[in-house]
Symmetry: C2
Subunit: 140 residues, 2 copies
Amino acid sequence: MDEKDMKILEILMKDGRKPYTEIAKMLNTSESSVRKRIRKMEEEGIIKGYRAEVEPSKIGYNVVALTGFDTNPEDFLTVAKKLCEFEEVKKVWTSTGDHMIMTEIWARDGKELSEILFNKLGKIDGVKKICPAIILEELK
Amino acid sequence: MDEKDMKILEILMKDGRKPYTEIAKMLNTSESSVRKRIRKMEEEGIIKGYRAEVEPSKIGYNVVALTGFDTNPEDFLTVAKKLCEFEEVKKVWTSTGDHMIMTEIWARDGKELSEILFNKLGKIDGVKKICPAIILEELK
DNA sequence: TTTGAAAATTGGCCTAA
DNA sequence: TTAGGCCAATTTTCAAA
């Protein structure tokens, strides 16, 4: 990881499909140099992958909620793992602060979110409290 | 947006660089069909872009915090926009729930996080309270 | 770093529903 | 009108030396 690797990363975080040749031009270096650096960062796990970023509202998911979960301390990890299994749950973090588990959940509307939260996730063994925060706008 | 588009999206959300030819094979269709569908979804804003996903700890960012901000109602949007300007602030959402503004912040260590939160972001006009939750593990 | 072959992307034009 | 098939030119990727 040097200066050049860092610049490559910045470029790829903005545009994960930018061709090696273009990146090489931007950094005044060769395509093969860029490619080998990227390959190495992929192998080392610095680059975990490439993802298309999708606008949920355009595919019918009009409600996205950052949702905290509280559990008994002993159930914490099993709950977190269980949450990962649900397709609607796009992200799961364990964290300090108000809630030990934080998630990002996609739903088609408020009704569906309510069903997901209270009929599905709320019934997971060990869940004590659910704290949803509906995202109004993604500014960055 | 039909069934086929949805499947293409699912593939690209997992691997944003998968070649059209491979996607076509997976869906038993032609490369040109896949390509034209993707182009259309890009133009319509369904696909907002492609990003390399980076492991922050591998490039020296050992502390990532989901951080809520409370403001006066009248300062809320200006604060949110101001937060977007900081390089350390990777994500900014406005939301309901405990905090009107939620962010994801990357720092090299606890000391740096503390500096960012209290010396930089905390001094933005209108910020009343900062609620950081350090991410322990990203499970999904 | 350079080179050349293979693969992927792109654009245009065509047909069919 | 729109989705998809087809072909040809260009660009990108990749693995040698």
